[in-house]
Subunit: 343 residues, 3 copies
């Protein structure tokens, strides 16, 4: 159950740099590649000649060539040519609206005529040179909404990420959830606490003392269909917390694009955007490695949670105050699904 | 098809020494751990908050804590607490009667009010200091009853274990099967034969000549639901065989606890108990290693036998005299199953 | 959908040299071994005693012995003996007509009374000492007919095998397909072209210049149920091409026996027969290694093609002129299938 009339992150440019990429998104097998003039293109991963996957082919002068018998496919899903053949009567395959923006390739798997690129949300950190970004991709075997739940309830950090970003005070701080237009915002502020290891390292990385009390914040913002941006950070206590001047804090945005593959699996694009030392590539790599380890800790939990839910579809899960972020997010997803349902 | 109103071996204490253990038994996903005062406990491996597996959590002061969001579960399946929550109205999960005895953790997956610990059979070798025990655990992809059949018909030793405990004389010696109360007993005695390699080593291990004829015996005892204890040994020929004085023989008890996981897989707890040199830990380790190798030889045969039977459910297998032990054992199992059937 | 009243290659003699071989062919689990007097035999891989796979057993004096409890099976599927048992009333298992010929073991999985060894096609290269043969076996997860299609349309060489035997001129040369009795023949001739790497090496291997223009040919011959022999070669240009004298050319026969395992998997016996330097074992090994690499390039394409077809069973694939070889071959297969259908 995933909305299709919406933009999902499909891949990153490096994944299509040298050859086409086959990837299943929202149940559709799609091949992504750079078409004419380097513009990104996406068509069904199915050659109309004999059903071969086009992703095993190659790109020649901006056209996708089937690696089995050389059929040349246009980025509109119409066959351009084939050695020794007249192709006019050949069946077409589906093509998908696709956009390259903010360092990602976005795909629309629903009705093509509704695919307005302006619907892709603005991402300031992706275009402003004062910000740096590093991230990665995980394949996770669970419903993409379990990942949304996970990210909209950060009390799990205390348990799943106990050695890095978790701390008891997260559990104890009240959480506030509200709907702001097309966003669900869940926020939590902790005052005068000691920072956990990941944030101590971030403070040091920003030239700040790590052995003094801090104020910490987490502001999770869900946008449909399944993007979660989380403002996170710590400031030396009493300097204004979230609103402290840059010289008193270390902060960043956790970036999560969650793209359904099937009903029970998804592609998880995770990363971190920061607005301090943006030119420091080594720091970007260090943060990326640390985040990668932390985020890999969620996988086993989520996949076994999915297995449990699949075994017991009749069981209603609890919806506590800490779950409000996920509950509201799913409500927005349900609205999108309802809009797509045929009358 | 497995009885549920009965005690099965679930695990060994070392498996829950440092963290909870998730294990499926009789189709039920269960988490085993040490609860209050170190007493063993078992509840469903399903957190009532969001369906996370509790086995990924940890034990804090005798209480199981969910590793996702910190829900604290009681060993009775009732939620004790959760950070920032009132838990009174939380749904319960199932708890399972569980006992630690004889070096094993036993679980009852049926109706809890019928779970009488006195129904666990006495195991003299497990409590008498004149005995030593070593063993291991294999996961086998076949119906647990195929393993019962295997152990109640030791003619397979001649073929499956030809290089260790097998010998032609097993095939040739008559076998006797009888039902004694709640046991099925299948016995075979061979006189004046040469011992196979495993038993030659056992004779030497007990300080006895290994190059002289011996009398050999195998007495298999099945007890419901699926425990098989096998008295095995050799004595120098003419010294009384099974009844020979200790200084003339090497003998032991093969211990087999066979615990269903699903309809076509089981947990196989195997081991050997001996009443000579019980203090010799090195000998225990050596025997354990040898037995582990021998018992691993059955796996491929049993798993492919299961695959064949699954392919041909309509075929009736033969029930020869050598199969009488398995046939009688299955009859006892069927009686238990009939008792459990709703009227 | 595979004909059963026909001979398929089941295995090679080395596969049954030391022990029985269990292999599924046309949906049947079969055990192959050398029976009395070393004659090859094939019976169901199912012991009538307890369903154990007979392929885990061994051969004793030409009789197959079950490795579980020693039942001795005859090559006619009738039980010969079992330790301590009267076997007269034991159920039989199915036996399969089987022939050893041309360096292969052939099996007939249909009605036994129709199994005439004379129906196995003559293979001159296998019996004539002027020829040498080397080959191998791949297991491929696709319908065997996709492999027939593959081999009856060699335009794929240009794409799948671009670095070895592929070249643009294959695409450009006209192809001719005709039915000759019980054969489908697809042929292509290319004149005055430069040879691709594999054929340059073959020219050198035969002591011929590799940097001059050549004539190249490919003559694919399909015989039911699924054998494809392909005459391939190059001759120095203008020397008569296919009909050139041996001192001007390098040529061979690509040998393909395609044996269904299930509806969507098959055993692919591939090889190459050549009639130059037949005594040169090192050359045989070199060619075999090169061919093995080339033929392994088809696997991913075919298996993902199968996956695509399975996802879209409603889609009709194109049947172009280049596909005529496969189309005609499938027509012959369909005729065999129609003959087997009960009236």
């Amino acid at each position: 159950m995933y909305p299709k009339n919406t933009w999902y992150v499909a891949c990153t440019p490096d994944e299509i740099a040298t050859k086409p990429l086959g990837r299943q998104i929202c149940g559709e097998k799609i091949v992504f590649y750079r078409g004419p003039e380097g513009k990104v293109a996406a068509v069904e991963d199915f050659c109309p000649h004999r059903g071969a996957p086009l992703s095993l082919g190659f790109v020649r002068e901006g056209q996708l060539v089937c690696g089995y018998h050389g059929l040349e496919m246009g980025c509109d899903g119409k066959v351009i040519s084939m050695p020794g053949q007249r192709v006019r009567g050949f069946p077409c395959i589906r093509s998908y609206p696709v956009e390259e923006r903010y360092g990602f390739i976005w795909v629309w798997t629903g009705e093509a005529d509704k695919a307005d690129p302006a619907l892709i949300h603005h991402l300031e950190w992706a275009v402003n040179p004062e910000w740096a970004y590093g991230g990665g991709l995980y394949h996770i075997n669970c419903d993409y909404r379990l990942m949304v739940d996970n990210l909209m309830d950060l009390t799990h950090e205390t348990y799943v990420h106990a050695s890095s970003i978790g701390q008891k005070e997260i559990d104890e701080a009240p959480v506030n959830t509200k709907v702001e237009g097309e966003q669900v915002v869940t926020s939590r502020y902790m005052e005068n606490i000691m920072a956990p290891p990941f944030w101590r390292a971030a403070l040091r990385g920003n030239g700040l003392a790590d052995d003094v009390p801090v104020d910490r914040w987490q502001i999770c913002r869900f946008s449909p269909p399944s993007h979660v941006m989380i403002e996170v950070g710590v400031a030396h206590a009493g300097k204004g917390g979230y609103h402290a001047e840059p010289q008193h804090k270390a902060s960043s945005i956790v970036v999560d694009f969650i793209t359904p593959e099937t009903e029970t699996s998804h592609w998880y694009f995770w990363g971190m955007a920061r607005n301090f030392k943006p030119e420091d590539a080594e720091l970007t790599a260090t943060i990326r490695e640390g985040q990668g380890k932390i985020f890999s800790e969620d996988r086993e939990m989520l996949e076994l949670q999915q297995a449990n839910i699949t075994r017991h579809p009749e069981r209603k899960l609890l919806m506590l105050n800490i779950d409000a972020g996920g509950v509201q997010s799913r409500r927005m997803i349900d609205q999108l699904l309802a809009q797509e349902k045929p009358a």
